[in-house]
């Protein structure tokens, strides 16, 4: 009797949260999906069914084609940069240098601040002016130390604009990747390395044959987390470029979605972009979740 009453209480306690997630996550996704096949333009909703025309228009629009290309380039470079820098720094810190804690804190602090703050500062570092008398930021620094060939149009470069955004994004997230790898390295028992050393393996061999293979799960989670960030990146791009750079040189789907829905009030079209972002994230995350739950269930 008491147990039954308490079970009821338990369910009552979590039901507000369950209800909230049911509506605000699942319900709203369905709502967005419905809006994506509607003619909704302007402040008042209009759910006239228009089939997939929003999606077709989208894939035909030059801006969205640039967005897809930019997201692809950004994701690949951002992941490559964060993983390699993160792993390198973790291995360096794993040698237990003096001041390890200080170095770790310096590498990781960008994680604590907003992408907007990062964007505002990097906007000036990546100032695209290239004429000598108007140089500032990194371009000015390059000029002052005689590395003029590095002077760049950064995020306004017509074809490589998006690459400039990879720099601040890596600045912010590579320390986090380092922390993931360092935690992974520290969880490998010292005995394993000792045993390899006794067998005459060099430090490099130990890393190559023993440690790196054991870090594969860390790499997998890092890829998921960083990929998740890169596919929906918005704050950093809007803070640096305001409206996506020059001729959408640094535009991304999330930025396009926001301006399309909330500035141009083309909600049907905006919802279509949102659904595409959701699908790309799902392609990345869902297999990982299934894999994780399966391994957990097996244990």
């Amino acid at each position: 009797m008491r147990i039954r009453k308490e079970r009821l209480l338990a369910i009552t306690l979590i039901s507000p949260s369950v209800l909230a997630i049911a509506i605000f996550v699942y319900g709203f996704i369905l709502w967005t999906a419905r809006a994506s096949v509607s003619a909704w333009k302007g402040l008042l909703p209009d759910y006239t069914f228009v089939g997939f025309s929003n999606f077709i228009d989208l894939f035909r629009s030059p801006r969205f084609q640039i967005d897809l290309r930019n997201t692809g380039i950004f994701t690949v470079l951002f992941l490559a940069a964060c993983l390699s820098i993160g792993l390198l720094l973790a291995v360096l810190l794993d040698q237990r240098p003096r001041g390890e804690g200080l170095f770790r804190n310096i590498y990781l602090f960008p994680m604590a601040i907003s992408f907007i703050v990062t964007g505002v500062v990097w906007r000036w570092l990546l100032n695209p002016a290239t004429s000598i008398e108007r140089l500032s930021g990194l371009n000015l620094l390059f000029h002052q130390v005689g590395l003029d060939f590095l002077i760049s149009k950064w995020y306004t470069h017509p074809t490589l604009g998006i690459v400039a955004i990879v720099i601040p994004a890596t600045w912010q997230m590579s320390g986090f990747t380092m922390a993931l790898y360092l935690a992974g390295l520290r969880s490998i028992p010292d005995e394993l390395r000792e045993a390899a050393r006794v067998d005459g393996a060099s430090e490099w061999q130990i890393y190559h044959h023993i440690i790196l293979p054991m870090l594969k799960p860390v790499t997998l989670s890092a890829v998921i987390i960083l990929g998740h960030i890169s596919l929906k990146i918005f704050d950093l791009v809007i803070a640096i470029t305001q409206e996506g750079g020059k001729g959408y040189s640094a535009d991304v789907p999330a930025l396009n979605m926001w301006y399309t829905a909330f500035r141009a009030l083309r909600f049907g079209q905006g919802a279509a972009i949102a659904i595409i972002i959701l699908l790309t994230v799902a392609v990345l995350v869902v297999p990982y979740l299934i894999y994780t739950f399966r391994t957990e269930a097996e244990q």
Binding site: L9, T32, V121, A179, A261
Partner: protein, 272 residues
Amino acid sequence: MKRGIARFILYLLLIAAAAFYLMPVYVLLATGFKSFQEVNLATMWKLPSGIYLDNFIAAFEKLAPNMRNSLSLTVAATILSSILGSLNGYVLSKWKFRGADFLFTALLFGMFIPYQSILIPLVRFMQTIHLYGKLWGLVLTHVIYGIPITTLIFRNYYAGVPTEMVEAARIDGAGLLGVYWHVMLPLAIPSFVVVMIWQFTSIWNEFLFAVTLTGPQYWPVTVALQNLAGSQIVEWNVQMAGAFLAALPTLLVYIFLGRFFLRGLMAGALKG
């Protein structure tokens, strides 16, 4: 000898990396502390001739109301979502009913969605309940979308509490809430610290919900800062000082409560 060279290279790389991470901080502070007369894009990399607070005062005058909005928003949403997460985590770890694991998985899914996919309905919803443009609408939003991560952290923590402790308390006559109040809550203080720091940092730094849901009067500091940066009128040096002010609260949390921050980061590692 060989070891000496290896160590030298090690420190060289560590210091080079530190220089990369600190470079924007240098520019931020060097610009922030210059006087108005000194500020010039051409001397961006030079140290200021003295310590002047002109830029910080100008930025603070512009951003003070938004810092206050951010503070109210963050404190309210952090407290509410921690309480919710702690109750959910408790029920889902110690009062498992049929389907509890499925429910937990279904809740977790909310962490992984890109918020663009719920943004348009969210705006309509807030308009309907007349919270669109207001700070409370944003608080509600952060509380709801904070449920998955806070529930996850608490559930993982409570799962580690021995079931015998719960049973002992039940033999002494404690009910569901009694066990929570007398056994779990006192044990969960460290989790509360981790969750609250995580939520404080994420909500303070959040931009997408804030820029979409609030009007100028209720803008948190991230939106106001982005707006300063987008205007042609506000000088870049004031923008830099403003960026510093906006970053300060979460930076202080990081400096003084770093190890809790790191634990939240690892727990939320899946969230991204």
